[in-house]
């Protein structure tokens, strides 16, 4: 088990390097001269040659790209992503300011969608082709086909504009959280419900389920202990892969609900061409994704003994 974890840790090093290279080179992939962006971003004037030159020297943009990259990377791993171009603050401070809002939205949505996807998926599988199953099917079909920005706007119109029950935007109490979480989890859990259902049905059709029933175990134990534990292996893969989808989706939900999180920070920074912030956000989300994958791989080994003893 420890060897397995150690090996997975070693394997993520090249991935992390790749992520850092891509994040760093965003600055140069974007057409135009970074120094000109800085002048525009900082002083909001048409850049002159002199200003550009001065900035280049000041920011070290005249050094070879590899040196710049290594310099950036060595600071980045210590959590220093430089200063924002538009605000007189370190990038890290900007990110930390916005992080709690995003984390709150993210974890609430993730927990609620997974809980409901599991619950509805299991119910659908047990009552396959019965009324509950059909209801769940319609429900997920709606969730898959309704775009979340549209759903968000409709929910705002119903609950904020018409019924005046909930705030349309802003951040703070639970009442602010309800609409964004509802919008976001509705689409996020839709496909997952179907996926849980089909994985569980697949597991229920296996021979070991007949063995479990032949032992006279109650159906609840047959489903939860014997079938679901096996079904969890593909379910966990799918859920964790969809975390990136959740991160991307957060951007839209945060914009629709004016949620002061990292998603809206990213959008603002892209519009303001505040590249250090963009670089930092891309890098951090990439690293987060790698860490999530690592945790999932370890989780696998906990659930599936064939992986645990594979090496």
């Amino acid at each position: 088990m420890l060897r397995y974890i150690a090996r997975r840790l070693l394997q993520i090093v090249p991935t992390l390097l790749g992520i850092s290279i891509i994040s760093f080179s965003l600055l140069y992939i974007f057409p135009g001269d970074p120094a000109e962006f800085i002048v525009e971003a900082r002083y909001a004037v048409e850049p002159t040659q002199e200003m550009v030159k001065k900035i280049r020297m000041e920011m070290g943009l005249d050094r070879p790209m590899l040196v710049q990259y290594l310099d950036w990377l060595s600071k980045a791993v210590r959590g220093d992503f430089g200063k924002s171009w538009t605000e007189d603050k370190p990038v890290m401070d900007l990110i930390l300011e916005r992080l709690p809002a995003s984390a709150q939205l993210f974890f609430t949505t993730f927990a609620i969608s997974i809980a409901f996807a599991m619950l509805l998926g299991i119910i659908s599988a047990i009552y396959k082709d019965r009324a509950v199953d059909h209801f769940c099917r319609i429900f997920s079909l709606l969730g898959i086909s309704i775009p979340s920005f549209w759903l968000g706007l409709i929910l705002i119109w119903i609950f904020s504009v018409q019924l005046r029950l909930l705030p349309a935007f802003g951040y703070g109490g639970i009442e602010h959280l309800i609409l964004p979480v509802l919008t976001w989890s509705f689409s996020f859990m839709a496909i997952k419900t179907r996926f849980v259902r089909s994985c569980l049905l697949e597991a229920l059709s296996q021979d070991y389920v007949i063995t479990a029933r032949a032992k006279g175990l109650p159906e609840r134990i047959v489903v939860l202990r014997h079938a679901l534990r096996n079904a969890l292996i593909p379910i966990i893969t799918y859920f964790s892969l969809s975390i990136s989808h959740l991160i991307v989706g957060s951007i839209m939900v945060e914009v629709v609900f004016s949620w002061p999180g990292l998603g809206s920070l990213l959008v603002e920074s892209v519009f303001k061409r505040d590249f250090p912030v963009v670089q930092a956000l891309v890098f951090i989300s990439g690293v987060l994704f790698v860490i999530v994958n690592l945790v999932v791989d370890i989780l696998y080994a906990v659930i599936d003994p064939r992986i645990r003893y594979g090496d």
Binding site: I210, A214, G216, D304, R306
Partner: protein, 303 residues
């Protein structure tokens, strides 16, 4: 102990009705090893699993399965559940019948925890004793099925089956997928538990010969012969039984001509008549099960 009367199991499929078991009568006496033999697809496994009422949902079952005086087909699901694994144990085929994510020790302990009210610890202790008895090795109880060979998995399934001291054990193809030396070990394994009443389903005639007290032959959803094992192997009564024995390598390796007919619309009359060398005009009528001093056979030759 177990008496099956006119049992019919039909499967509704998109292509038509598959008559997997079509009017079976048989009786398993206490203490005997009753072996049901037949080709793949003759309905023998369906018959076995219908005793535990674990058939898929598209199956229609009729007739009577009387176990200790109670017709199992009339019991509620909950009453049936208390019989499964407690009074009637099922020893499935070994290949994929163990749950890959649970330890073999725990899987073997489950019936005792469920039916006998054992706590985990004492159930595990008893599992270790049974593992010892069956030659599995105590240290392997915490291992997972993928760490076992096919033969060892079969032992685990036997351990699971006998753990609650059931009154009847149904074993489904215990030698399927095992090579010859492993098959011999399974014979030894079943000899160790031979004091129990068993219904063994197999297409392995050598295995049947070594273990069975009585043999029933199933062909195309019907029982065609029931005989004491010794007499069966010395002098089979039904032409199909004879064909089966003649197709053994040790007895000349002569295959039965033709193929097993479709279970959707089996031939009228005797279902074996199209492949039978003794077939005559009267075989167009369905033969009844004739009784001949302790043996029974479904063939007009013995009228």
């Amino acid at each position: 102990m177990l008496k099956i009367e006119n049992l019919k199991v039909y499967f509704k499929t998109d292509l038509g009705i598959v008559k997997a078991v079509d009017g079976v009568d048989l009786e398993v006496h206490k203490g005997e090893r009753f072996t049901l033999i037949g080709e793949s697809g003759s309905g023998k496994s369906v018959l076995a699993i219908s005793i535990l009422r674990l058939l898929p949902k598209n199956a229609e079952i009729s007739g009577k399965i009387v176990f200790n005086g109670k017709n199992l087909l009339e019991l509620s699901e909950e009453e049936m559940r208390r019989i499964r694994g407690r009074k009637i144990a099922w020893i499935p085929q070994s290949q994929s019948s163990l749950n890959p994510v649970l330890t073999v020790g725990f899987q073997s302990a489950e019936p005792m925890i469920e039916h006998l009210g054992f706590d985990k610890k004492s159930a595990f202790a008893k599992v270790l004793r049974i593992f010892d008895f069956l030659g599995i090795g105590r240290n392997r109880a915490k291992d997972y099925p993928h760490q076992f060979s096919g033969g060892m998995r079969q032992r685990v399934l036997v351990a699971m089956g006998i753990s609650t001291s059931p009154e009847l054990i149904i074993a489904d193809e215990p030698t399927k997928g095992l090579d010859a030396s492993k098959r011999a070990q399974v014979v030894g394994l079943f000899r160790r538990i031979e004091d129990r009443t068993m219904l063994i389903i197999t297409h392995d005639l050598n295995f049947a010969e070594k273990l069975a007290d009585r043999i029933a032959v199933m062909y195309c959803g019907k029982i065609v012969e029931v005989s004491p094992a010794k007499e069966f192997f010395n002098e089979p009564l039904h032409p199909y039984s004879k064909g089966l024995l003649d197709s053994l390598p040790s007895r000349g390796l002569k295959p039965i001509r033709g193929f097993q007919p479709s279970m959707m619309n089996p031939p009228s009359g005797c279902r074996f008549r199209e492949r039978c060398e003794f077939a005559s005009e009267r075989c167009r009528r369905e033969p009844p099960l004739f009784n001949l001093n302790g043996r029974s056979v479904r063939c007009w030759l013995h009228d």
